[in-house]
């Protein structure tokens, strides 16, 4: 065997047994006419080949179909579950309004109650529990565009540069700078930031208040637009972030807005409550969750960052 293995593979595409058989036939002078049994055998073999092809095709098609079915079922599950979540959120919202209305009604009846109501309103503003509308600043942060030099054949095989992504730290920096610049209320992609809202990174997604927000990130801050923008731009961290985003292709810009609408933040769970001895508690006010017991402690918490 003089030739290399690859040469042999490339040159000998036909089974050498055919040539040998032909040579043997020529040597013995046997009749080249095919016998009947041989013909049947060949036909049977061809039938087996066809059967193999058909069965394999069936298998492949069936498994592809099965995958598509499972995927469709999962998508349907996700849709129906998020519908249920939406319905529950609407229900929660209406129940909350109802509770707040009843509470206000009960408290407004007495002078003590009225004072408690005023305290409560102030606390709710501080805790970002009420929606806010007003002029302000809209800061936009976005990931760098994926490189144009992506391999068109292999899809996105090249790793996306992690430095071209907006991280939780960038958003924290922007939000802190906005608070420092005198923002009264801040939200990221419609998620209002309360006093205890965390901005974190989990895997590939930025979580605000444990709910994922996606690229591009729009940070809205309500406050005096002029003061906000000058103070915001004066902050050295923002200057550094601007330079960084410039060099890694991140989008980072801001605009003054006349009208920004920020929703209420999700109300944190009531973890501890103290009965207040000085108030002659009416049963209705005392048992309303999140109402008067919370009002005494809530003002202590200041909007942080």
């Amino acid at each position: 065997m003089g030739a290399s293995l690859l040469d042999a593979v490339l040159a000998e595409t036909l089974d050498p047994a055919y040539a040998q058989a032909a040579a043997a036939r020529a040597a013995t002078g046997a009749a080249p006419r095919p016998r009947r049994r041989a013909r049947v055998l060949v036909a049977l073999t061809m039938a087996v080949a066809g059967l193999l092809v058909a069965v394999t095709y069936d298998q492949a098609a069936a498994s592809a179909q099965g995958r598509a079915q499972v995927r469709a079922a999962l998508i349907e599950d996700i849709r129906s579950d998020s519908r249920v979540t939406d319905e529950l959120a609407v229900q929660l919202e209406s129940l909350r309004t109802q509770v707040a209305g009843t509470r206000d009604q009960l408290l407004a009846a007495s002078a003590v109650g009225q004072r408690a109501l005023d305290d409560l309103a102030q606390a709710e503003r501080g805790a970002a529990a009420v929606p806010v509308t007003g002029p302000g600043l809209l800061v936009t942060l976005a990931n760098a565009d994926p490189g144009a030099d992506d391999d068109p054949v292999g899809g996105r095989t090249t790793e996306e540069d992690p430095r071209g992504r907006v991280r939780d730290g960038d958003l924290q920096l922007v939000v802190n700078a906005l608070w420092a610049a005198g923002a009264e209320a801040v939200s990221i992609n419609g998620q209002r930031l309360g006093p205890a809202t965390a901005i974190r990174f989990a895997g590939e997604a930025v979580l605000v208040d444990f709910r994922p927000v996606t690229n591009p990130y729009e940070v809205s801050a309500v406050g005096d637009p002029d003061t906000l923008s000058t103070q915001f731009l004066a902050s050295p961290e923002v200057g550094a972030l601007a330079v960084i985003s410039e060099s890694f292709g991140l989008r980072f810009d801001f605009a003054r807005k006349k009208e920004l609408s920020l929703p209420a933040a999700s109300i944190p769970e009531l973890r501890s409550a103290q009965p207040q001895g000085r108030e002659p508690t009416t049963p209705g006010a005392a048992t309303t969750p999140g109402a008067s017991p919370d009002a005494g402690t809530a003002p202590d918490r200041e909007p942080g960052g």
Partner: protein, 110 residues
Amino acid sequence: MIPILGLAAGVLLGLFFDPTVPLWLQPYLPIAVVAALDAVFGGFRARLDGIFDAKVFVISFVSNVVVAALIVFLGDQLGVGAQLSTAVVVVLGIRIFGNAAAIRRHVFRA
């Protein structure tokens, strides 16, 4: 003509009766099909070359299918099943290509 009828009959049988393949055999079906295609193309070319032999064809078909499946089975046991499948597909693919080119030269004289 009869072999082509046999092939068509096999395809129709497979599509209509939809036989269930045992689960343990399923991973070896695609490779067996490639091996069978190689044997069929080889037989067709031998026919055109005028050296077709029924015995050689049947034996090469059966041994091709069995050996290809065995190689992949062995590879699976040794943990290199995917790589060995690739090797088998490459070798058989080259042979199918070469035989198809020879058939083309016979049929179109080019």
